[in-house]
């Protein structure tokens, strides 16, 4: 029996108040006022598809100790790199053994469902990890800006500890151009919503669903959770009614809390459906874009005892209100900000030097001395313990999963930062090891010597002159329980 054995989600903490967006833009388009309710998730300046994917994947893997990963697929339409396999960066940040098949899947809103189908149909041994992550740019004052959100979600596919087994799969490939983004543009161009609904959703989805249910010998009444990813608020209801699916089975697109997370939306909603499922429930998930994917899953008895560290409700609750629309514009390069002369400093990455330090920079590996047991980061040739200083004595030691506490810190307003002040300081890890590092997601007054932290893979620097970005690990203050 193949199916889903775990899930993990990541929703950026920052939630932009949509009223702030509407207030800033209604002078041009009064229609935005009606959309100015609730909030949407927005990436911090140091988050992108890769960093969110690492978070979601890490959550997904954290609940299962015996995973033998054979593949990792990353689905998105907003990869930070067009030629540098993003899924490999994710895999190294997760410190996964490199004997693994990796793939980036994009170019459609059904990228993630198509990737899921491919993994469900795969005969490869071991478990597969699918991560879907999306950080879409939209023009200032657009409806998309109001309706979309940034998020990532991940599912583990395998035949052990399955919480939802695959019951059936159908696909229809149709070049229906509801929207597109060409190689020379950074924004989507779309067509009228009503036409997309009537000629797209209403024609394609029923055809695929009928065929799928027929082959599974099920009827629409058997569907307990219906996932139709779309930023059209009324279409899922209209479609459910047409199909004969109970409206209570609709999995909400979370437009007023997260926003629609593009290619990550089907997986994010699947995680929500799994969170709400009882054994025996049927989940029907759709991926719509240049046709339609439909996947039918059935929750197993194992779902009762499956408790992820962070589910969708938990990720939703871990939030920070953001009322400054200008910050969102700045983070997404939608306005040309004056970044000051300090911001002009060259940020070139010397790729050969970077490659030598990749275990440390990407996987956050330090060392543990075999002679004296001292844990240290970064790992250097000689042990740092002044009473040891042994040569080449350290084994790799992972810090990515360690917690620590703040020793020293500051909020630097002189240095360049995309979101001043820059918080950084010395972190002492539980179990040993210490390093001066950046903090992220700090709220004013929210840091003190002694504060507990966890570490997270984030963007450290952009090199706009060369289209590169550096990643490294940053400390986040753990919420007090």
């Amino acid at each position: 029996m193949i199916g889903i054995s775990a899930y993990g989600v990541y929703i950026p903490r920052a939630r932009l108040n949509k009223k702030a967006v509407a207030d800033a833009n209604a002078w041009f388009d009064a229609g935005l006022k009606s959309l100015g309710k609730g909030e949407r998730a927005i990436c911090n300046w140091d988050e992108d598809v890769i960093t969110m994917a690492v978070e979601a994947a890490s959550e997904c893997l954290s609940s299962n100790q015996d995973v033998k990963l054979s593949s990792l697929y990353l689905a998105s339409t907003t990869f930070p790199f067009l030629d540098r396999q993003n899924s490999v960066v994710v895999s190294e940040a997760l410190n996964i053994d490199n004997q693994i098949r990796t793939m980036d899947i994009g170019a459609s809103q059904r990228a993630a469902t198509s990737a899921l189908i491919s993994l469900l149909e795969s005969k490869a041994e071991g478990d597969s990890l699918l991560v879907a992550s999306e950080h879409r740019r939209s023009k200032a004052g657009s409806r998309a800006e109001m309706l979309w959100g940034d998020a990532a979600a991940s599912v583990l596919i395998g035949s052990e500890n399955v919480i939802a087994e695959c019951v059936g799969i159908e696909t229809l490939a149709v070049d229906f151009v509801d929207h597109y983004r060409g190689e020379e543009s950074s924004f989507d161009y779309d067509w009228e919503e009503r036409w997309i609904r009537d000629e797209g959703f209403m024609k394609t989805v029923p055809a695929v669903v009928k065929k799928l249910l027929q082959s599974a010998s099920l009827s629409t009444e058997d569907i307990n959770h219906f996932i139709l990813p779309t930023d059209q608020s009324r279409t899922p209801g209209v479609l459910a009614k047409k199909l004969g699916i109970d409206v209570t089975a609709l999995v909400d697109n979370q437009i007023s809390t997260v926003g629609v997370a593009g290619a990550a939306q089907p997986i994010l909603l699947l995680a929500k459906a799994l969170e709400d499922s009882n054994p025996g429930d049927h989940i029907l998930m759709i991926g719509f874009g240049q046709g339609c994917d439909a996947i039918l899953l059935k929750a197993t008895d194992a779902i009762t005892n499956y408790k992820p560290a962070l589910n969708v409700s938990g990720a939703l609750a871990r939030r920070r209100e953001e009322n400054n629309y200008n910050k969102f514009l700045g983070f997404n390069n939608l306005i040309e900000r004056d970044i000051g002369k300090r911001g002009e400093a060259d940020k070139q990455t010397y790729l050969s030097g970077y490659n030598r330090r990749k275990d440390f920079l990407t996987s956050f590996l330090g060392g543990k001395c075999r002679e004296c047991g001292t844990v240290q980061i970064p790992k250097e040739k000689y042990c740092v313990n002044p009473d040891c200083n042994a040569l080449n004595s350290q084994d790799d030691y992972s810090f990515a999963d360690k917690q620590g506490s703040v020793v020293t810190w500051t909020a630097d307003r002189l240095t360049f930062d995309w979101s001043p002040p820059a918080y950084f300081g010395m972190v002492q890890f539980d179990g040993g090891g210490k390093i001066m590092m950046d903090f992220t997601e700090v709220e004013e007054g929210g840091i003190e010597s002694g504060s507990k932290v966890s570490v997270h893979f984030r963007i450290r620097q952009f090199d706009p002159a060369r289209g590169f970005r550096k990643y490294f690990w940053k400390a986040v203050i753990e919420e007090k329980n």
Binding site: G340, K341, R342, A345, T349, Y350, G353, Y354, R357, F360, L361, T374, Q376, I377, P378, E380, V384, N385, P386, V407, T408, W409, T410, A411, D412, R413, L414, T415, F416, D417, P421, A422, F424, G425, M426, Q428, G432, G433, K434, I435, M436, M437, D438, E448, S449, G450, R460, Q461, K470, F472
Partner: protein, 399 residues
Amino acid sequence: MASGIKDKVVILGMGCSKFGERWDASPSDLMVEAFEECIEDAGVQRNQIEAAWFGAGIDAFNVGASAMPLAIALRLNYIPVTKVENMCATGTEAFRGAVYAVASGACDIALALGVEKLKDTGYGGLPQRSRGLENDMYWPNLSAPGAFAQLATGYRAKHKLNKEDLKRAMAHVSVKSHANGVKNPKAHLRREITEDQAVSAPYIAEPIGLFDCCGVSDGSACAIVTTPEIAKSLGKENLVSVKALQLAVSNGTESSHESWDGSYLKTTRIASQRAYDEAGISKPKEEITMTEVHDCFSITELVTMEDLQLAEEGKGVTEVLDGNFDADGKTPCQIDGGLKCFGHPIGASGLRMIYENYLQLNGRAGDRQLSNPKMGLNHNLGGFPHQNICSISIVGPYN
């Protein structure tokens, strides 16, 4: 067993340019300004200088690489000139080269000159610069105030101080240096400030505010050194000799080993103890009569007083507020205004400190002359609290 540097070398002459925003002066102009005062004071000719050490901290905005800028600016006579760079300890490092050369007998008269031209960047504060290929890959993009603000949070956590008390003591450090700077015609910043002003100034890097930061200045300072015998033969009296010259460089223990808690400067403790031993000082509190320390930020000075054993550990706040380091205090600190107000042209700072002690010991410090100076300590700290270079020099009357 090495005998140390004590009394082997004396200062023949010193010079120091006016520090400040020297829009009028190029690095060469600053070097010439300091050198002219120095060579006149020394009473020798340029062609008597047999070797020179040249200190400049930040190349990109300064003089460029190598020792040639000094040789060219001063038209030195094809003598050996060595360029040194050790962050904010650069000036003392240049001095160390010249002093060691004389002490070794390799030459009779040597020159040390430090210079820095920081005000050609187009913005305030120290120039934004690389920390090296490896460090740039992961270090926080920290500014100098950002680096030393961490010393304040580390010190505060260690000694369980409240924010307000520490901030007030930090303010006192700056108020004192501003009061001293007023009396120094070569100082960059020459106006008094109040504790309230210092406490309420906007944060640069919490808890460091504007008045907790030293001046970023252009300037140059230099020294000509020789042996006591040669100085005497040249008719010099009231000789000032080098009692100790020490350097301690972080080896990564502070930054990566949990034995350091971020509340003090390990290198300062090590270098100062070595310097006291070299100078034969057993009771620093009683024997050191004045100090010029690396007050890049007010918190650095406060913590340094403890690390130099001039204040009791954990009692820096009280001792500072009691005025122990004020001009009329037990051990006056930064009588010339310090980095805070004299200014901080990086490569020149170590030599500027020695210059002040040299003037004080010769009774030539004008309005700010101390009544009975005996033993002067100079302290530089280059880098960051968790990784730095500490240089200490002690000078006093040659007996």
